[in-house]
Symmetry: D2
Subunit: 349 residues, 4 copies
Amino acid sequence: MIIIMERNATKVQIQRVIDFLKDNGFQVRHNIGEVHTVIDAIGDKTTISPDRLSAFEGVKEVKIIREPFRLASRDRKNDDTVIEFANGVKIGGGNKPISIVGPCSVEANYDDLLEVAIAAKEMGCEFLRGGAFKPRTSPYDFQGYGEKALQFMKRASEETGLLTVSEVMDANDLPMMLDYIDVLQIGARNVQNFKLLQAVGKCNKPVILKRGLASTIREFLLAAEHIMYNGNCQVILCERGIRSFDSAFTRNLMDIASIPVIKKYSHLPIIVDPSHGTGQRYLIEPMAKAGLVVGADGIMIEVHNDPENALSDGKQSLSIPMFKDIMGRINMFNKNIHYEKNCLSANTR
Amino acid sequence: MIIIMERNATKVQIQRVIDFLKDNGFQVRHNIGEVHTVIDAIGDKTTISPDRLSAFEGVKEVKIIREPFRLASRDRKNDDTVIEFANGVKIGGGNKPISIVGPCSVEANYDDLLEVAIAAKEMGCEFLRGGAFKPRTSPYDFQGYGEKALQFMKRASEETGLLTVSEVMDANDLPMMLDYIDVLQIGARNVQNFKLLQAVGKCNKPVILKRGLASTIREFLLAAEHIMYNGNCQVILCERGIRSFDSAFTRNLMDIASIPVIKKYSHLPIIVDPSHGTGQRYLIEPMAKAGLVVGADGIMIEVHNDPENALSDGKQSLSIPMFKDIMGRINMFNKNIHYEKNCLSANTR
Amino acid sequence: MIIIMERNATKVQIQRVIDFLKDNGFQVRHNIGEVHTVIDAIGDKTTISPDRLSAFEGVKEVKIIREPFRLASRDRKNDDTVIEFANGVKIGGGNKPISIVGPCSVEANYDDLLEVAIAAKEMGCEFLRGGAFKPRTSPYDFQGYGEKALQFMKRASEETGLLTVSEVMDANDLPMMLDYIDVLQIGARNVQNFKLLQAVGKCNKPVILKRGLASTIREFLLAAEHIMYNGNCQVILCERGIRSFDSAFTRNLMDIASIPVIKKYSHLPIIVDPSHGTGQRYLIEPMAKAGLVVGADGIMIEVHNDPENALSDGKQSLSIPMFKDIMGRINMFNKNIHYEKNCLSANTR
Amino acid sequence: MIIIMERNATKVQIQRVIDFLKDNGFQVRHNIGEVHTVIDAIGDKTTISPDRLSAFEGVKEVKIIREPFRLASRDRKNDDTVIEFANGVKIGGGNKPISIVGPCSVEANYDDLLEVAIAAKEMGCEFLRGGAFKPRTSPYDFQGYGEKALQFMKRASEETGLLTVSEVMDANDLPMMLDYIDVLQIGARNVQNFKLLQAVGKCNKPVILKRGLASTIREFLLAAEHIMYNGNCQVILCERGIRSFDSAFTRNLMDIASIPVIKKYSHLPIIVDPSHGTGQRYLIEPMAKAGLVVGADGIMIEVHNDPENALSDGKQSLSIPMFKDIMGRINMFNKNIHYEKNCLSANTR
């Protein structure tokens, strides 16, 4: 931790910071510059938070040297986290990228969901997604079919062998949801709903955590840290676009570079959601590939058997024929990248 | 609702949109431009959402004419909402701006809280704030003292006559919280935690709703709409800064213009929080005044009896002497603005 | 300057940074933390730029302690810069806030401009603004009348005694412009057109420098530094709104807090432009007051004798009757703030 | 053009808008909704700008249906623009992606530049880049060697056969620059320096136009329109990252999706600059590939023979060995994508 004092900080103010740090077991050195005094403190930040120090009079800024996430950090665990399912599917660690497809919301008719699930299975996808509880900006929009939707998800899973993903919005729903689905999802709007993060942190199920619209990479990893801190280390991050100043052509701005950045600093797997990330059908294929080429461990795509009549997010949903077309090309692309990766690692041995 | 078709939309695609609109009871007219066909639809948007239409093939964009919030809108209720408390305090409707002060978190020692409450009372403030449950970016930071903190809040309220405000993070805590406090607060990170919005929407207590870091004004008013739609119309909005590209000198960027914008489109009261809005003590006084001069119905300020030892947000907390100094000037300022306002309304009669 | 090394930086990498710093005359100390090594360097940053250091292998981050602007900084010159004109008008240093009003563009008819100038004079304003060269996002929009417009400006100045402000877009126009106008303006889009900054830096005329849509406060002050570095210290900063994620209700987002921030770190005067800052007539009065209450040294407002027929920016232009109304209230408000300021300084003596 | 009236717009206000539109040759229809009246106007927007209409009293919003750029639009020219050089190199139109490499600034020693140029040639790159005039945020940073640098560029071009790219900052430098270099570059900070856009618009040389830090896609294409409107249609767009709220790990945020968006709406070629886009060496390879996989027509990469001693942008410059390594993999990748593309077009015939 580095403490930068204001240019007019008094000797007394400087000494009080130094004393406080020493009292808390830090090793302290300080340099008196022409303008600013700078204090270096080496020690265990779990004992005092940088916020404490920035409240001292005369302190201009406190600079953290070490990233504040720990369990999520490569400093702590250098090897990639790999999440493995009973049927042998694996996420992360350089395994073949997985695909999660399905409608935004599960709707009234089971056969519609099944049709999508069958197409997904046919194209080699591993996961079926479908919302039972929908966070909607307006209270006048469709909010999901709840438990009935989850029953449909389980049935489709049994018929196709796909694993299932569904969003949890309320910790009280967790016990019920755990009966039906394989992977919990935390939506972008709940990325700092800390009570919910704690609750899924106490479950023994993998969690897909979506990046918030205003989450910095550091805050995103700290949200994962909340889950891990409560005991659940099976966290799969998901880049799904952030808020920018231009929403004329895309709903959100996909931060593709966040994927290799996160790979550098964290061992957690990360997937990419071009459907929410762009909000535009024609951008799904290129942006899925962009995510995969920089190292994403999988993709999540919205597919609906009849997008024009979808109860939510129809605009960005692929119809089944479009999906098959695109998924075929993505599968080919994954094979090529994977081949290239293997060549590379063979060469670098 | 206006539907703009893609430049290469086919006649069949155009006709399908028109038929769908007519089937749903809309009056429809369309204009075929040189490049784009434009369809105007007049009718009740509660029956179909614009999202539905944007999923139709050949649709480029759906433009909503009427703002999507209704209960929160001045179209529906032209008069300012005034929230009145048993002790006669009123928020909104051009009443004297209220002041909410107190520590970020209620801490271990009751006397510390009382000291702040007494100072607040002395300076004519109406509300004491204090966190019992703290949403923290890092799991390693202090999370609040829970019910014990609320007991302290109630005791301080009884000793001073101040009304109390505290943040709710979990709907399950509501029954307990309602016993202790007068105004519920929803934090910025929970502004789209729709389950929590629904839960406070079913309470009969005023709610302070903080703007999210990435909330547009429209989304912010739709979050209020979620509360109102569930039955609770006592919503007080709070501008507390949004995320911007520059955080070198202030923690957030206060959108002061949002206050008169919201006053134009909504009847709800709105207050301003310069402590979180800027994260800097020296900016609290000027930014409180900036909020008040454009029409805010009150301010919320963090005050701590010993900021250097605060367990959270010490950096932006005022000490008691600083607070008294600043609050004295703000009180004077409020009197002046209020005087000016009365002159104006006398003149415009 | 503080250099934070990567967690896996080698001893050789660390030593090379230390040697380089020492060779350049810096005093160096370093702390080896559990994870990161941190190097403190005290010395004259004019000799080497932090960028140089961040290019060294093993360097994670270089943190500047002292703000990079110098001539613009209060560290260098503690007293407010006051810009004084031949007619006694002063900008900055706690003098009465000045007002700059006029049309976005000077148009074809001189009498239209004169009508605005007379109203401005009548309301006690000091400056007439009017564009001769217009930076327009689209090449199909009106680009200004050039020298003819400047002749009109000068004539209106002679008839009313107002000082004149006009934007320079091309250094080649400067010699001609200097004959006609009193204050040069650099528009937001040219805030990092360094050739133009250098050129006005060599003029002996005050310059209004508008903040760019994506300028951080630091970059904004560095743009002023470019002008000052070339010899012209008569720089007036202007906050006119920055780009944000929400442009549904306002064209830009006014960063009102930037005014007291800049006052703290720089001695330069700063004014506020609510016309461009919001793009909405109804927000001009409140946002002008918000700027003034936090310490702005003046306001700039667009006024047009016939906004519905303005060739540019009609939407945000006030008509003459609206302007008189609003300006009357702003004048009253300035008197009140000024009165309050005098009381304060009397009390704090 | 669609004009949405305020909910309380009067009949007179509505009629005045309609009359104005008709007087300007527009066909007009209007729909009176429950709350808002909406006016559709079909006609030639070159005669009146939407801004004119938004200034009318009672107008809430003017919505443009057709994109405001014309020469840059696919509406006007459906086929991809291909820019061809004397030596047969082509940019755009599905041709093999080109590579532009070189140091940020050309420095004092010619051999350093030549060393980079030879490596670039060896790796099959087509263009050498190098700055002679450097736009620098701080006046204390290195500003480039001017004409001497351009002479070096020409000499390196003659020795290697590479085409050359260099940034123009001042229209007055153009006649001189045209003698030395093959492609002009407009930097991000000058993207709305309209005088400079006009000046390069009158040159008969290809221009690389970099996206501004705060440019929307629409504004970016309108900046290209300024160049084309002045007669030069050889514009190559360049995505190089925009400003976002998170700059902890990357200097800018690369908007990879902008590439397929621009491909859809414009016929102009677009390349990607991961060096400036990320500011981090380790992100150059993945982000170059991300740009190429979504359809970029080329890449621009900073390479320096001794990054630790570069006078600018060393942090993001590749050393020559790193460059060769990365460029080898990118060349392979381009071949694979190209192969895939050919298969696709063969299949879709």
